[in-house]
């Protein structure tokens, strides 16, 4: 759905992004991960033309992004950034309504959409609609920032370190919420982060960037099991790679037929969590229970072992 073709950005002598080509699939989350200075933010900002490429091109839905004026392009693409960038002189509702207003939506439609988004982001409209950003907590500001980015129902959402300013507990919650929202709207999300755990947690596909180049682009499990470059292996972490791999598989996916007299675990729990539970209880198997309460089989220590290394 989004195709980057030999995208390059140079500032004078310095090449910040160097001939990056990759394809982002529709309705998926693609995470670009890299250290600071790797060019990941510049790459993201070339998609909505906040940075104009030196060479190469960007296609969204097959059409070249330079075909329309940059500000019109940006109104079709959601954009959320680390320090949220909420407009301090406008209320929460007015902040969320920015892009619908730019697009000329009528007042009633905008209002309905603002209320819907506030509800989805667990911000009671009666309480929050008329508050100013400085009256909100950091987590609430961040949610308003994402709600604003989604206001005009964009097909594509670009996020630059959206959870960077949040403390760890709120960050985990915000990541879960983002996954829910992505399922809900089916938005195609490109997210930039320096946090490899966040990349594995959120990304359907992950691109590892260093010095302006994409070293490897693939599913998280591929990056762990077949790193194409020593730097990728170093970034994904060698010491706990088995644990990372286990965290990519859910109990429901790994369940095998049979009964267990061990504890019950949720089907949505990762194998890493199941392993922790088994070790904690000193048992060797657990039964898997789906959200509706039905039993989905069991997981044994042997089964976990088979998922924790390259196939």
């Amino acid at each position: 759905m989004i195709t980057l073709e030999k995208l390059t950005k140079r500032y004078g002598e310095a090449t910040v992004v160097n001939e990056v080509s990759l394809t982002v699939e529709r309705n998926s989350i693609t995470v670009i991960v890299g250290t600071s200075g790797s060019g990941k933010s510049t790459l993201l900002r070339m998609i909505n033309r906040l940075v104009e490429p030196t060479s190469g091109r960007v296609l969204i839905g097959g059409s070249d992004t330079t075909r329309e004026p940059a500000h019109l392009l940006r109104r079709r693409i959601g954009y959320a950034i680390q320090s949220h960038g909420l407009f301090p002189h406008r209320t929460v509702a007015e902040n969320i309504a920015v892009v619908p207003r730019l697009l000329g939506w009528d007042v009633a439609r905008t209002q309905v959409r603002v209320r819907e988004l506030l509800g989805i982001f667990q911000l009671d409209p009666a309480t929050f609609a008329d508050k100013f950003p400085h009256q909100l907590s950091g987590g609430q500001q961040q949610r308003v920032g994402v709600a604003r980015a989604l206001a005009a129902e964009p097909e594509v959402l670009l996020m630059d370190e959206p959870f960077g300013a949040l403390d760890p507990i709120i960050r985990t919650k915000a990541q879960d919420d983002l996954l829910d929202i992505q399922h809900h709207f089916g938005t195609t999300i490109v997210l930039v982060t320096h946090d490899i755990d966040e990349a594995f947690r959120l990304g359907d596909r992950v691109a590892v960037m260093s010095e302006g180049r994409v070293l490897q682009y693939g599913r998280p499990a591929e990056l762990l099991t077949q790193p194409s470059d020593p730097l990728v292996a170093r970034m994904t972490g060698v010491a706990d790679r088995a644990m990372k791999l286990l965290s990519l598989t859910t109990a429901a996916e790994a369940a095998e037929p049979g009964e267990s007299d061990g504890p019950e675990v949720s089907g949505s729990a990762s194998l890493r969590e199941v392993l922790s539970e088994l070790v904690w209880r000193g048992v060797s198997s657990a039964s898997v229970v789906a959200a509706d309460g039905t039993r989905k089989g069991r997981i044994t220590m042997q089964g976990i072992l088979s998922h924790g290394h390259p196939a």
Partner: protein, 386 residues
């Protein structure tokens, strides 16, 4: 709110002591047999009947007690206001008693004692208003009430025997014109400066390389003494009037309002450009980035986000300029620019202090009103983003 006795109020005590000393040592009024002879200082007791003098002192003692002992802003405000009314009434009465009926030659002016008393009470009033933490609109309404009350009292003729009002009576026809001229010069040059300085400030913000040079030049202009600047401008404007007849017909000449307006305009540039730059720099880069990322055009980002967020700081610059201009315009009279300075310089020339005051007091009042109104505006605009 209950008035609760608290510790001794430091400001109130200081004011009470200074005012008491001034009333004891300095004359309340000055009597002159004509306009320019040196005056004869008179104590209040020597002019008013004993009961009136005692009454005023009793009233002022009560005000002093409030100033020293009570912390309630409303009571302090009311007390200082009563003090001002009582003092003004005593002054008017003294002027009436010292002026023989129908005599237009003798002059009765407020003495140093009265001025210190008025300043003391005025400080107490403004301090009380500040402590009341009034809403911006309420402060403007209060100012309007003060002005209306002062106007009614003056129009009624209560102070007609006072020397300043004598000068006013002689100059009444010119006075309104000079006030208009004064305001037109101060506000007009400000308006022109805003139109030029705002884009300059935006340019300096967008092109940081220009900033040191631009602010440097404006700084140099600011350091030229005003009289020197008027002098410097006489030459080119005089030449312009000679060379371009249209300019001359429009009133441009080496002396008069044109060089005054140009000088005030030049002085106005630095505060507005500097505050525009400071205001725009105050806007968070993340906010601007988000605005662009959301699809606002450059013009929308500038007008709907950057300028709106910078407005309180820009207005603070405009406030500085307006108050500064109202004061500086006084000097315009030196080169024939007119305005309230005309009375000041005429008064100096004639050693007629009363005429100087006729120019100075309205100037101070204008500057004060401008400051109160623009402060209120800045506060209203800044409130949304604490």
């Amino acid at each position: 709110m209950m008035a609760r006795p608290t510790r001794v109020d430091r400001l109130g005590t200081l004011l009470a002591l200074v005012v008491a000393a001034a009333l004891a040592l300095l004359p309340f009024v000055v009597f002159k047999t004509n306009r320019i002879v040196p005056g004869e200082p008179k104590a209040l007791a020597a002019v008013l009947p004993g009961w009136a003098t005692l009454g005023l002192y009793a009233c002022l003692s009560l005000v002093a007690a409030v100033a020293v002992c009570l912390s309630s802003a409303r009571i302090r405000f009311g007390a200082s206001l009563c003090g001002i009314v009582a003092s003004a009434a005593a002054l008017a009465a003294a002027a009436d008693r010292l002026t023989p009926l129908g005599n237009k030659i003798v002059r009765v002016a407020p003495g140093a004692g009265f001025w210190v008393l008025l300043i003391g009470l005025g400080l107490m009033t403004t301090d009380a208003v500040a402590r009341m933490r009034l809403a911006p609109a309420a402060r403007v309404v209060m100012l309007a009430c003060f002005l209306a009350a002062a106007y009614l009292v003056l129009a009624h003729g209560a102070f007609d025997n006072l020397s300043i009002m004598r000068e006013y009576a002689v100059n009444a026809g010119r006075f309104t014109n000079e006030v208009r001229r004064h305001v037109a010069l101060a506000v007009g040059s400000l308006g022109a400066a805003v139109i030029v300085a705002l884009p300059l400030g935006i340019l300096c913000h967008r092109q940081p390389k220009l900033r040191p040079g631009m602010l440097g030049v404006l700084n140099v202009i600011q350091t030229i003494p005003s009289i020197a600047l008027f002098g410097i401008l006489m030459v080119p404007l005089g030449a312009l009037a000679l060379a371009v007849p249209l300019a001359a017909r429009l009133g441009v000449s080496g002396i008069g309002a044109a060089p005054a307006a140009v000088a005030l305009f030049l002085y106005s540039l630095l505060p507005i450009v500097a505050n525009t730059v400071a205001g725009l720099r105050r806007v968070s880069p993340a906010t601007v980035e988000a605005a662009r990322g959301m699809g606002m055009t450059n013009l929308q980002v500038l007008t709907a986000i950057e300028l709106v967020l910078a407005l309180p700081v820009i207005l603070t610059g405009i406030r500085i300029v307006l108050v500064q201009n109202i004061g500086l315009t006084t000097i315009a009279a030196l080169i024939g620019g007119g305005g309230l300075g005309a009375f000041v310089f005429q008064g100096i020339g004639q050693t007629a202090t009363d005429l100087v005051l006729l120019g100075a007091i309205p100037t101070v009042t204008l500057a004060f009103c401008a400051a109160v109104m623009l402060d209120a505006l800045v506060e209203v605009l800044d409130r949304a983003r604490a």
